[in-house]
Symmetry: C2
Subunit: 309 residues, 2 copies
Amino acid sequence: MSLVVVGSIAFDAVKTPFGEREKMLGGSAVHFSLAASFFTDVRVVGPVGDDFGDAEYQVLHDRGVNTDDVEHVAGGETFFWKGVYGWDLNDRETLATELGVFGEFEPKLSEASKSADTLFLANIQPDLQRQVRAQCDGAKLSGLDSMNLWIDVARDSLVQAIGEVDLLFMNDAEVRQLTEQPNLVRGARALMEMGPRAIVAKQGEYGAALFSGDSFFALPAFPLEDVFDPTGAGDSFAGGFLGYLAAQGAGAAEDEGELRRAMTYGSVLGSFCVEEFGTERVGRLTREEIDERFDEFRRITAIEGVPAS
Amino acid sequence: MSLVVVGSIAFDAVKTPFGEREKMLGGSAVHFSLAASFFTDVRVVGPVGDDFGDAEYQVLHDRGVNTDDVEHVAGGETFFWKGVYGWDLNDRETLATELGVFGEFEPKLSEASKSADTLFLANIQPDLQRQVRAQCDGAKLSGLDSMNLWIDVARDSLVQAIGEVDLLFMNDAEVRQLTEQPNLVRGARALMEMGPRAIVAKQGEYGAALFSGDSFFALPAFPLEDVFDPTGAGDSFAGGFLGYLAAQGAGAAEDEGELRRAMTYGSVLGSFCVEEFGTERVGRLTREEIDERFDEFRRITAIEGVPAS
């Protein structure tokens, strides 16, 4: 079983009411890879510049992530994002976006990546997502994330990209925006008609909802007293989700029970991500901690109660 | 077992993208009473004017609600609220608030109401809530709802009122506002320190969260493709919650399992409320429909899946 993810590899500068970091490892493909690495073999594809060094690679290698397809663009700078969060961590302001080598990114996948069983197209321009999807034509399971920017400037391409994957991950506001449907249930059904067999609507501090066929499932976010940095939560969620599902083998995405466990592992990884800055918490996470929190999710969602273990 | 609710009895004029009603029965005590009536005997306390007639009483009597303590103020007008909802049903604009007889409301409870086992203080001025709480000093279980207005203009009174009840129902934004705590978990803990043994944070379309002791439980809202009118959803939730709990007898509020079932019945009643305008849907609801939807909640929240019945 192997999983390949294509997306951004970045340096982030983040300030929240609880502290700040001037330059730390980030990017959608990085957060996704680290989360997924607890479940399956992961290959990460994305461009970096001269400023990306051994320390950054080490974070990925420590989790066993294969970086053979990380493209080093000589003379370039790694994608840089700077943002600030207020007390309401749902609101963030972007202070700087320097695309660097990411601006000219043309994904080139090795044969090993092309033959991966599972593919995740992290949030990049939808035409690039489609190029990657076409290269990985043997992938038995594929997922895609996007953002409001692409709905605004590349709607038709995004709709086509969505039509070519099995699973779609989106914020609930983006589901509404893309489908022009204020009701989330109707919006998710409209997205399934575009192609994907399941839609995961991410709802930030409220958790996430899963629409698959006629089924519906929703999970709250893990109740945390301290959220230090929400950056990367959605990608960590997707990494936990798709990493778990990839490890279950063919047909898992058609199994409602497996999808619900994937939702739960996604929520577990997302919750650990936000406990510290950037990749700090997930970088030293253990499988035992993941499974403990999975059990906690069973307890906090069981109407009939689950005895403490 | 009997449950008394003190709050507003009103006429509402509501416009949503799906239709409008110029004058229909509403008010927090009405929505609460109808929802609670499926579980226990309910007495409703509140003032009405000359415009409140047989047709309005009939809606309450059809559900067996005791209206002996509805105070008819001769020459007065019933509380009137007019509001409009946009496509995003989370946002509403108040177009008119005519307090009428509600502006001079001084709750007067009969001996029968004073001796009720369970008391719900719907959203009214917190000093009035305290007066009622003092009159019902034998109530073994009490709950309170409030709103942002009272946090703004009567904060100290509200804090005292909260200190005198067992259960607090509030929107999550109000939990944050009252406690000046952006983190909901910390906000709920701060509220428990004021007195209540459990806090229910209502989250609108995202459902509701329950904090009790060290326990946490969260339930999504029922996935509806058509939400016609959100007015009264929170009071219907509280009615289902407290009505169920009252029917379970002494000690139920100390039982985490009973609290979780109460959360679920509350969510069931809230979900039916919004399916049509005002009291239309709950007014003709059946216990069988309630129990079917309770089972649906088990299915949409079970990580490990629940077989369809």
